[in-house]
Structure formats: C-alpha cells, structure tokens
Amino acid sequence: FPPAFQATPRNPIVLDLAYNFIEFPSLENRMKKDKKGFISRLWR
C-alpha cells in the first residue's frame, strides 16, 4: 500500500477547430472614418 499508479486508456480528444473559422466580417469600411488621421492621409 498504496497501490502503484496504472496507465488507463482514454478516448482521444477532438477539438472543435472549425469554431476558429467562424469569424466576424471586417467592419473597417463600415465605421465612421476618423477625421483625417495618419492612415487616411496615406491613402489619399
């Protein structure tokens, strides 16, 4: 005593990896543009 530890088989794990591909669309172009920020100056 105590009895030795023993390895027991278990069901393999499966992750829901597809969940990571459920993504929101980019809303960048739908929001109000900042007033003449650095980026928008680059783009003109």
């Binding site: 393999p12 990896l17 969940y19 459920i22 929101f24 669309p25 809303l27 739908r30 109000k32």
Partner: protein, 176 residues
Amino acid sequence: MAPKPKDKLKPSPSSSQPPPAIEDLFTSLSKHIQRSDFEQAAKVADQVLSIAPGDEDAIRCKVVALIKDDRIEDALSMIQSSQKVPFDFGFFKAYCLYRQNKLDEALESLKRQEGNSATMLLESQILYRLGKMDACMDIYQKLQKSKIDSIEINSVAGLVASGRASEVQRMLDTLR
C-alpha cells in the same frame, strides 16, 4: 432617474429623433466584438438591420455573434430567415447543424461549399463523429501542410479511433 449616457444603443421610442447613423452602429458593433460581448453585438446588428434590412455585414455579424454566444438554435433560424438574400451561409449553417449533432444535414450543407481549410476541417470533424474514419483521415492528410494550430490533436484522435495508433509517432514526426 437621470438618463444613461449610452442610451443611443437602444432604439429610441420617440419618432422625432432620427435613428442613429449606420456608421455609428457599426462602430459600436465593432467595440462589442472586440470586447467579446456577443449578446450586445447581436442586438446592435439587429438595430442595423431595422434600418437596413438585408445588410450583408450586419446579417453576418448577427449570425456569428449568436454562434459565439452559444445560441446555435437562434443562429440557425437567423440563417433560415435570410434565405432570400444572395449570400451564402452554407458554412455557418453546416457548423450549427454539426453543433446540434445533425450530422447528415451538416454534411449536406457543406457539399455546396468550395473546399478550403475551414470547410475541410468541419467536414473531418463531422466524419469523425459519424465514425467514417477513412474519409476523416483523408482530409487530415490533405490538411497536413496547411499549418492549422492544434490540428495534430484531431489527427491523433482519428488515427487512434481507426485502430492506427502505431502510426501516431510517424504522423507527429512529419508534422514537426
């Protein structure tokens, strides 16, 4: 009671006030998404849709927000009610059906999708649950080069479940 400063998020009951601009709604929607407040995100997406029914970004945001809020049933009915709009929710629909364990329907919905990493991953997870291990492992074979995080975990599960545990080490070596 003093008015709350952020009550522009709620639809205004008085008709004299103009509805909030769509850009403002999308800005607030984006903030909710960044905070992972999916319940609020779905509500704001609804507000956009009350002004602009059929707005693709808003519908997509709402469906994704519902899924991430674990409201799979609501997401599915949102997808069903959006059938008149021209964009394709096949992947989202298949994912929701998978979550409800309606595996054959999920596969059916995936069939019309173009094959990419996302659809292939989902298909392999469905096939795993269906016990179709050969088809499942075929997909993991094809996805080996696509650098998807943690994919080796599902590949190992597939090998073990199909009685090919002896191949696990070799598969892990090739992924390395």
